[in-house]
Amino acid sequence: MGQITLQQVTKAFGDVEVIPPLDLTVDDGEFVVFVGPSGCGKSTLLRLIAGLEDITSGKILIDGKDASHTPPAKRGLAMVFQSYALYPHMSVRKNIAFPLKMAGLSKAEQDAKVDAAAKVLNLGSYIDRKPGQLSGGQRQRVAIGRAIVREPSAFLFDEPLSNLDAALRVNMRLEISELHNQLGTTMIYVTHDQVEAMTMADKIVVLQAGRIEQVGTPLDLYRRPDNIFVAGFIGSPKMNFITGEAAAREGAHTIGIRPEHLTPSPDGGMMQGRVSVAEHLGSDTFMYVETDQHGTLTVRAGGEVAFRHGDRIGLTPMVEHLHRFDESGQAIR
């Protein structure tokens, strides 16, 4: 079991309210990602759930029971820290066995569980080394190992991949997703990287300045963003926004169109412009087009598109993918 409910939870450091009243439910077995720009309160929220920070007001329920003031160790949650927080003077085996030892398990039980975790995570070859002798990815695995042996009701990850290089990050992303499929345990995962959020989450929670902007499945957020912030944050490259007359014609203050929903053509089109930069990635082509009417727009086209720097082209938006927003930035539906 691992259902977590936040009811009107707030957090203030001194006079500064970092989390205004917030409600959220994480269902059992779900993979939930908190995503938002740096400093928006993702880590604080995670630490409130873990019990490493006291909530200022509100309630946290774990499996229906009030855990607002339960000490961290008693909440049955395991956390993987950004810096891994391995104990440097203990071997990998001892690191993983530490929570079991604290729980008072016998040596034989500890060994059995550590061996099982080592097998799941392929730690076998370096189980007797110290953390200082491991690479970043290996440390990450050990930190996850230390979390899974406790058989927690939910895992909490705080930007676990941010210290890894790009290739390793893609690998670990897959491994964590696989681990989730294998264990079926609730996972709450914090990141500022929307790609991680989109690829891993069952449910994404978009945060800004401590407030929840939108909750939904990755495709929900991509297709039907509730407001400009979510529309701009989810999706890469970013959505193009156009204000003024063109927006007013659509009955909106701002209209948004994703780069992949603009069709380039050698001539004609609804807008005209000059290609300032064209990035040919093989599979895709990203173009930054200085339009005559609406400033610079980003366009994503297929890899076979051959426009280059300086070409004049036409652009036609797919009207069914147009997003409309009012003055306050809320979506008009």
């Binding site: 490493l52 961290p72 160790a73 395991a78 927080a85 003077h89 530490f98």
Partner: protein, 289 residues
């Protein structure tokens, strides 16, 4: 790591310093060794020549030597235990956030800046004096017999005085170690279910071992040579109860026996080296990263 050329250059560049240090050490050592085999007493300038092992024989068989040897060890070990344990506790305390932290930290460091002779005199006259001392007054106030600290417990009293002076040093180094401990490690152990005791023994103490080792090694070097505190408080007495090796060597010198004192010095060097080897064997591996 480095090329052969840069290593050769490094050797040449460090040569002058090494030579100066070598001379600095070798010349006095050679002179001490030379005098320790000479008959050389300022009271009897006419008795000269080689003494063979006599100086060593007389120094080692002096009944004061055994006492001084034992007292030296008691002094070093006693002060080490008090300063390391006390330093850890104080560091844990000072690491907590509280009002006036800055001032309290300065106050804690203060004893280190007091000269050994001054602090020993203050302890002797203002605190431990059996008639006028504060401790005597305190004892009388609660109806107890005042204790004559330096008269009846000279060695323990000196251990106390020296420990008081060295406690700030240990506290400072251990506090720095404590502050460099990663917060996330503490939080991880908290989530892993470690209470305060477990956290201290499994996380905090192992993190501090290197600093504790440094404290022990540095203090041992200085504590083996304690002299001023003994001079101004007990003069090594009563009898030889608070006499340590440096003090015994000094006494030999004041008897104008340069040869005997030199022999004592050589013996002290050998004993200090034995202690050093012993210490390095025991805790030196903590210094390897």
């Amino acid at each position: 790591m480095a090329t052969a050329q840069s290593r050769r250059l490094a050797r040449w560049m460090s040569m002058p310093a090494i030579i100066v240090l070598l001379l600095w050490m070798v010349v006095p050592l050679a002179m001490t060794l030379y005098f320790s085999f000479r008959r050389y007493n300022l009271n009897y300038p006419d008795r000269q020549g080689w003494a063979g092992w006599n100086n060593y024989y007389y120094f080692l068989t002096d009944p004061a030597f055994a006492a001084a040897f034992q007292n030296t060890l008691v002094l070093v070990i006693g002060v080490l235990i008090i300063t390391v344990v006390g330093g850890i506790l104080l560091a844990l305390l000072l690491d907590q956030p509280f009002w006036g932290q800055g001032i309290v930290r300065v106050l804690v460091i203060a004893p280190f800046f007091v000269m050994p002779t001054v602090s020993a005199l203050v302890w002797k006259n203002m605190f431990m004096n059996p008639v006028n001392g504060l401790f005597a007054h305190a004892a009388q106030a609660v109806g107890l017999q005042p204790i004559d600290f330096l008269g009846h417990h000279p060695l323990s009293s000196i251990v106390g005085i020296v420990a008081w002076a060295w406690l700030p040093f240990a506290t400072l180094i251990l506090l720095t170690a404590l502050q460099s401990l990663d917060r996330e490690q503490i939080e991880a152990s908290e989530m892993d279910g470690a209470g305060f005791g477990a956290r201290f023994f499994y996380i905090i103490l192992p993190h501090m071992t290197r600093s504790i080792t440094v404290v022990i090694l540095i203090q041992t070097i200085f504590l083996l040579g304690i002299y001023a505190e003994i001079l101004v408080t007990t003069n090594g007495g009563p009898g030889t109860q608070s006499m340590n090796l440096p003090y015994l060597i000094a006494v030999t010198t004041t008897q104008q026996d340069v040869g005997g004192a030199a022999a004592g010095g050589v013996i002290a060097i050998i004993l200090a080296n034995i202690v050093a080897i012993f210490l390095m064997r025991m805790i030196g591996k903590n210094l390897e990263s």
